[in-house]
């Protein structure tokens, strides 16, 4: 039976099975929270991007001020006169309660907007402007058990479901789309919209699409100093809901990771204390301080990695549970970006190494004679 350095480290970790298992649970919770929350916020961002891309949105025009999503609707007339712009579609989005338990995204669109091109109407038809009509994404329609002809109540107003659609984006398939004017009335935003989604004219010969888009951005911002014209990808990343989701996810995850790090530090400190005499034996056998330190760090990293793997499973499972709950299905996607897994694993190992560094340093500093005398 061959013994490797890594194998030796893992044996030391696994010696105290209960303590290791409890530590793994702690790390697993921390990394699980990271994977679930950051994974959720990233998939949320990805869903926005997917929505813009599938609709063919080139630029979005929004207020420069963070969290202020109100743009005067009259801006649209001027926008349409800018030479680079083909279409300027006003839109509103908001979160609304459809039942006491279920909140969902609600969009306000014009009936003739280009954004319908990304939707596949499965039942019924498109709504008409100025009518109390609604279209439901198939995911939401399924969870609310609604079909064409039924009604749905929003903020005290009743809307007839005239269409059920399918979308590639979880943000749309779990959402409701209302006529823009009806949505303005519901949101108290008469004459206001959240944003304008722009489609640009094809770039003329000699000008690259990027230059053309940049010209459009400059023209909008010159015309309206209080507004920003931003590419779809940036809009997905900087959308207020996404920014808040990222901030909440990272904040919560960091607290969870800190707790996990304290768990590892405690476990490793206990382990080093209990194994003081063993460290003395290793030093007597010629192990250098560095090698002892590496062993303890490797044990901490192994704890972190195993905890990270546990956490990824927990986070993945949590996302799948959230994706099935009516309360969250409309904004949670189970398509977890690979980077989130990679980040989770690296973070777990890093947390392990950082948390193990002080016990490792203390273990390595032990004098062989003092360590051998330790009782």
């Amino acid at each position: 039976m061959q013994l490797s350095f890594v194998g030796f480290a893992w044996r030391n970790v696994w010696r105290r099975r209960l303590r290791t298992a409890l530590t793994l649970c702690g790390i697993g919770m921390g990394i699980g929270a990271f994977v679930a929350l950051v994974g959720f916020s990233r998939s949320f961002e990805h869903a926005w991007l997917q929505m813009y891309e599938s609709a063919g949105t080139d630029l979005a025009v929004v207020q420069k001020t963070f969290l202020n999503t109100s743009v005067d609707q009259s801006v649209g007339t001027t926008l349409r006169q800018i030479p680079q712009i083909a279409i300027a579609a006003p839109m509103i989005f908001n979160m609304m309660a459809v039942t006491p338990e279920v909140n969902t995204l609600v969009y306000g669109w014009r009936a003739n907007t280009f954004e319908f091109s990304a939707l596949n109407i499965l039942q019924g038809r498109r709504f008409r402007d100025g009518q109390q009509e609604a279209m439901l994404g198939e995911l939401l329609a399924g969870s609310l058990n609604k079909k064409v002809g039924d009604t749905i109540d929003l903020q005290g107003s009743s809307f007839t479901v005239v269409g059920i659609y399918r979308s590639n984006s979880a943000l749309e398939s779990g959402a409701i789309i209302l006529p823009l004017d009806e949505m303005q009335n519901l949101s108290g935003m008469t004459g206001k919209v959240s944003a304008f989604h722009l489609q640009l004219k094809p770039a003329p010969p000699g000008i690259s699409p990027e230059q053309w888009r940049q010209q459009a951005e400059n023209a909008v911002e010159k015309q309206f100093p209080g507004l920003r014209a931003i590419p779809a990808a940036e809009r997905a990343a900087n959308n207020q809901l996404v920014v808040l989701a990222h901030a909440a996810a990272w904040g919560t995850s960091l607290i969870a990771l800190l707790v996990a790090a304290l768990g590892i530090a405690n476990t490793m400190a206990m382990s080093v204390f209990e194994r003081t005499k063993e460290i003395g034996v290793l030093r007597a056998m010629g192990w250098s301080r560095l090698r002892v330190m590496l062993l303890i760090l490797m044990e901490a990293a192994a704890l972190g990695a195993a905890g990270g793997a546990t956490g990824m499973l927990l986070g993945w499972a949590a996302l799948h549970v959230l994706a099935t709950l009516p309360q969250t299905a409309s904004i949670v996607s189970t398509a977890l970006p690979f980077m989130t897994f990679l980040d989770g694993l690296l973070m777990a190992v890093l947390v392990g190494v950082l948390a193990g560094s002080v016990p490792a340093w203390r273990g390595a500093r032990l004098s062989p004679v003092e360590a051998l005398r330790h009782e």
Binding site: L3, F8, N12, A284, W287, P368, L372
Partner: protein
């Protein structure tokens, strides 16, 4: 026994201590009060003395586990631990890893590893090939009569078997000096005799210098040389 030779860098001994003193707690406890001793290659030296006489402290200095407060410990004429008079020193970790092997009274085997793995521990991280490590450990355990106990964990071994595993572990890096601290202290008379026989065989077969600390004069009598200590000094 011999008086110390005067020049650092030359020594007829494999191990030599020159006027070594060791004190603890800011000099309030003097464990060694000026010890000089030369040990020849292939020698079997027993160090005896009552508890607190300084015999274990001397063994620790000879094994590079500790450094003297004053004086010098030389291995093949080179100072251990820190350079002296321009003569390059031998790093203590390197000395313990390549030239010294330790056997303890309480065996100190690692409980999570079986016998074969325990013997490989000193070679971990040295760059040796895992296969070679295993073969070397296996050969030593077989040489010590443990061929049927290779995969047993320390708790599954008798005290005598555990000490034999510890001896194999001390030999795995082919040390030139073997240091044993009361190696039979936790064994019954039958196992004690067997371990002493093994140590004597190892010392003869491998040409290893064996230094053994014991309080048992009958055991010390089996050594080639005997140094008695009292109050931090050699007294014979």
């Amino acid at each position: 026994m011999s008086s110390a030779s005067p020049t650092i860098g030359t020594s007829p001994w494999i191990l030599e201590v020159r006027d070594v003193k060791k004190s603890y707690e800011n000099g309030t406890i003097e464990a060694l009060r000026g010890v000089s001793l030369g040990i020849a290659q292939g020698d079997f030296l027993a160090i005896t003395g009552a508890s607190g006489s300084g015999k274990s402290t001397l063994l620790h200095l000879l094994g590079g586990l500790d450094t003297p407060t004053e004086g010098t410990v030389l291995f093949r004429g080179q100072p251990l631990g820190k350079s002296q008079n321009g003569v390059a020193s031998i790093d203590l970790d390197t000395y313990r890893a390549t030239s010294a092997g330790f056997i303890f009274q309480s065996f100190h085997l690692l409980p999570s590893l079986n016998a074969l793995e325990n013997v490989q521990v000193p070679m971990l991280g040295t760059g040796s090939h895992p296969h070679n490590r295993e073969e070397r450990a296996r050969a030593l355990l077989i040489e010590l009569g443990l061929e049927h106990r290779l995969r047993q964990f320390p708790t599954q071994l008798s005290a005598g078997e555990r000490q034999r595993v510890a001896i194999a572990r001390s030999l795995v890096n082919e040390p030139q000096v073997l240091l044993a601290d009361e190696p039979t202290g936790n064994l019954d008379s039958v196992n004690s005799a067997k371990i002493l026989e093994i140590l004597a065989q190892v010392q003869q077969r491998h040409g290893t210098t064996l230094i053994m600390v014991t309080h048992d004069l009958s055991i010390a009598a089996t050594a080639h040389r005997h140094v008695a200590m009292r109050d931090g000094r050699i007294c014979n």
